[in-house]
Assembly symmetry: C2
Homo-oligomer: 100 residues x 2
Amino acid sequence: MYGLIGKMTAQPGKRSALTEILVKGIVGMPGCVSYVVADDPTDADVIWITEVWESKEAHAASLQLPSVRDAITKGRPLIAGMERVAETAPVGGSGITPEK
Amino acid sequence: MYGLIGKMTAQPGKRSALTEILVKGIVGMPGCVSYVVADDPTDADVIWITEVWESKEAHAASLQLPSVRDAITKGRPLIAGMERVAETAPVGGSGITPEK
């Protein structure tokens, strides 16, 4: 499995619009095991994104999906910054049954 | 929902022993939506833990479960450090169907 932990900062006041675009854009991505979009309670502009994929290739392929490209196009103007906190190798856990 | 992102550092050479304890200890926790234990590919001692819970209370209650207390007891000597990267409020995503 392949994982990503990212911290995104929305343009001021645009976080909820951005999370809505993200959540809608990630439905049904092949090879996606888990994709969680979360608000930071201590910073009104910050979003945490934690992802688990069957493979690094599945993640790369997702970026070419029409739904994801559309979300990127819509979301980009609302994004002030993005930081990749970690790239990971998930070894196990709970609630990470791969989607088929 | 309530989320946590944490970075744990194992004692040198003890990461796989520690992740095994963690993965076994977290099975069947009530209110746990997702709990992912992941190796850091760039640091042989680092583990990333990303959690989603139905509520903050469900997370707190899990710390009293015998299986979790046992994992904490076994794992503690193998832990060199722990950093809470973020406490989050998940707003949605994929693969986060709550366990009942």
